[in-house]
C-alpha cells in the first residue's frame, strides 16, 4: 500500500509540475494586469507544436524546448501588444472577453493551418523505467519533466527576486502608479511578464507532448483550464501559490483516477475550483488583500 501511494505521488507530481508551469503564466499575468488570460492554454498548445516541428526537424529535447520557449515568448508579447494593450483602462470584462476571443483565434488558426487531427509526437526521449525501491518506479520522461520544472522554477525565482526587471515586475504588480514614479517603464515590464509566462507555457507544452506523445490544436484547452484551477487554488497572483496549486492538483487528479474513478479525473479539478471559490476564494496562499484605490 505504501509503495502504491508513493508511486501515485510520483505520477501526480510529474503531471502536477506541468500544470504548475502553465499556472505560473496565469498567475504572473493576473498579478500584473489583473487579467485571466484565457489564451494562455493555447500558447501552451503552440509551444507543443513548435516542439513537434523542432523534433521532426531532428532537434533534440534541449533545443526543442529553447525554440518553443522563444516562439511562445514572442507570441505572448504580440498578444499583449495587439489585443490587450489597446484596451488598457477598459472595463475588466471587456479584456476578459477579448482573451477568450484570442483563445478561439489561436485554436482555429491551428485547425486551419495544421488540420484538426492529432499528430504523433516524435520520441525524442527514450523511455526507460528505473526502479526506486520495491515496486516503485520512475521513468525517464518523468525525470525530465521534473528536472525541467525545477530548473525553470529556480531561474524564475532568480529573475523575479534578483534582477532589476524582476523587481520592476513586483513593483508594477503591487502598485502601477507608484512604479511609474520610480521611473519604471510599465509597458516594457508588462511585455516582459507576458514573455516569461508564455515561455514557461511553451516549455510545458513540449514536456507535456513528450509525456503524452500527441499534439493537436485543441490540446491546450483542458490543461489550460486545469492550470487556471491550480493558479486559483494557490491564490491567483501569487507565484509560489501556482507551484503548490499545480502539484496539489496533479496529485489529487492522479489519486482520484488511481482509486478507480478515472472518468472523474477531469471533474476533480473543477470540483476543487468550486470548493476553493466557496471556502477560500483568495486561495491557499492568499491573504485578504485590500482592494487598491
Amino acid at each position: 500500500m505504501f509503495e502504491y501511494i508513493v508511486q501515485q505521488l510520483i505520477n501526480g507530481i510529474s503531471i502536477g509540475s506541468i500544470y504548475a508551469l502553465i499556472a505560473l503564466g496565469y498567475t504572473m499575468v493576473y498579478g500584473i494586469i489583473k487579467l485571466i488570460n484565457f489564451a494562455h492554454g493555447d500558447v501552451f498548445m503552440v509551444g507543443a507544436f513548435v516542439g513537434y516541428f523542432a523534433a521532426k526537424a531532428g532537434l533534440g529535447l534541449f533545443w526543442s524546448l529553447i525554440l518553443a520557449m522563444a516562439v511562445c515568448a514572442i507570441l505572448g508579447v504580440l498578444i499583449e501588444r495587439l489585443a490587450y494593450r489597446p484596451l488598457r483602462g477598459a472595463a475588466r470584462i471587456v479584456i476578459l472577453i477579448t482573451a477568450i476571443g484570442v483563445s478561439f483565434l489561436l485554436e482555429n488558426l491551428g485547425i486551419y493551418a495544421l488540420g484538426p487531427q492529432a499528430k504523433g509526437f516524435p520520441e525524442i526521449v527514450t523511455k526507460t523505467q528505473y526502479t526506486l525501491f520495491g515496486d516503485v518506479t520512475i521513468n525517464s520522461v518523468q525525470i525530465i519533466v521534473l528536472a525541467v520544472t525545477v530548473i525553470l522554477m529556480v531561474l524564475l525565482q532568480y529573475v523575479v527576486h534578483k534582477t532589476k526587471m524582476g523587481k520592476a515586475m513586483r513593483a508594477v504588480s503591487y502598485d502601477m502608479e507608484a512604479a511609474r514614479l520610480m521611473g519604471i517603464n510599465v509597458d516594457t515590464t508588462i511585455s516582459f511578464t507576458f514573455a516569461i509566462g508564455s515561455a514557461l507555457a511553451g516549455a510545458a507544452g513540449v514536456v507535456f507532448a513528450v509525456m503524452y506523445p500527441s499534439v493537436d490544436p485543441l490540446m491546450g484547452i483542458i490543461p489550460g483550464l486545469k492550470a487556471f484551477v491550480a493558479a486559483v487554488l494557490g491564490g491567483i497572483g501569487i507565484i509560489p501559490g501556482a507551484l503548490v496549486g499545480g502539484l496539489v492538483l496533479g496529485i489529487v487528479e492522479t489519486g482520484v483516477s488511481s482509486a478507480g474513478f478515472s472518468l472523474w479525473r477531469d471533474g476533480a479539478a473543477f470540483a476543487i475550483l468550486i470548493l476553493i471559490l466557496i471556502f477560500k476564494p483568495s486561495g491557499l496562499f492568499g491573504k485578504n488583500v485590500r482592494e487598491k484605490v
Binding site: 513586483r170 502598485d175 507608484a178 514614479l181 520610480m182 521611473g183 517603464n185
Partner: protein, 233 residues
C-alpha cells in the same frame, strides 16, 4: 527651474485644474496649500507625468515635459513622493530604496544608500524588514528616502506629515529643510499650512482647481485671509 503655464487637467468630465500657472526656482522650498479636493495632488501628478494636461505647458530645466512618459521625467531629475507614501509593502526596506534608484546606472548608488541610512537611522535598523510592517512614520521616511535615491533636482512631496504624531511631524519638516539645504529644490503640498509656511520660501494657495493667492511664505503666514482659512485663527 520649473515653469507651469496655464494648465488644464480633467478627470473625465471633472475639470480638476483650471488654468494653473506656477513656478519654482532653483534652491527654493515652495509650498502649495489648499483644502481637501482643491487639486494639489492633481498638480503634482501632472508634473510627474501620471496625468496629461489637455492644454498649457510645463517646462523643467529648459525642456518641455508635459505629455512625456513618467520615466523620462524622473530621469531628468523631477521626483514625486506621492500622497499616502505608496511604499511597496511586499518588498523589504532596502528593495524599496533600490527601486528609487531604478533608472540610475552610476556607481554611487551604494554610497547614496548609506547616506539615506544616515539620514534615516530607523530605516537602517529595518533594512530587511518588509516595508508593509513599518509604522506610518517609518513608511514616510522610506518614501522620502526612496525618492532621494533618484538624486532628484526637484523633489515633489505630497502631504508628508499626513497622519503623523506632532513630534514626528517636526522631525519630518526638519528633514525636508535639511534636504533643501543640501541642494535639492522642494515643492511641498501640505494640509499643515502652519508648518509648511514656516519652512517654505514661497507659497501658492489653491482653491477648486485655481491658484487664488501667491507670495512670500512669511507674508502669507501673516495675512488675515490665510489665517482664517488655513491656519485655524
Amino acid at each position: 527651474m520649473l515653469a507651469v503655464d496655464n494648465i488644464n487637467v480633467f478627470y473625465g468630465a471633472i475639470h480638476a485644474l483650471k488654468g494653473v500657472s506656477l513656478d519654482v526656482k532653483e534652491g527654493e522650498i515652495v509650498t502649495l496649500i489648499g483644502a481637501n479636493g482643491a487639486g494639489k495632488s492633481t498638480i503634482l501628478k501632472t508634473l510627474s507625468g501620471l496625468l496629461k494636461p489637455t492644454s498649457g505647458s510645463i517646462q523643467f530645466l529648459g525642456d518641455t515635459i508635459h505629455g512625456r512618459p513618467a520615466q523620462q521625467i524622473v530621469k531628468r531629475g523631477l521626483c514625486h513622493c506621492p500622497e499616502g507614501r505608496r511604499v511597496f509593502a511586499n518588498m523589504s526596506v532596502e528593495e524599496n530604496l533600490e527601486l528609487g534608484a531604478y533608472l540610475r546606472k552610476d556607481k554611487e548608488v551604494k554610497s547614496d544608500l548609506e547616506k539615506v541610512y544616515v539620514k534615516f537611522p530607523r530605516l537602517k535598523e529595518r533594512q530587511k524588514q518588509l516595508s508593509g510592517t513599518l509604522s506610518g512614520g517609518e513608511q514616510q521616511m522610506l518614501a522620502m528616502g526612496r525618492a532621494l535615491m533618484a538624486r532628484p533636482k526637484l523633489l515633489l512631496l505630497d502631504e508628508p506629515s499626513m497622519g503623523l504624531a506632532p513630534l514626528l511631524v517636526k522631525e519630518i519638516f526638519s528633514i525636508i529643510k535639511e534636504i533643501n539645504e543640501s541642494g535639492t529644490t522642494v515643492l511641498l503640498v501640505e494640509q499643515n499650512a502652519n508648518m509648511a509656511l514656516s519652512i517654505a520660501h514661497r507659497a501658492y494657495v489653491i482653491e477648486t482647481g485655481k491658484i487664488v493667492l501667491a507670495g512670500d511664505a512669511k507674508e502669507l503666514a501673516d495675512s488675515d485671509e490665510i489665517k482664517k482659512a488655513y491656519l485655524g485663527g
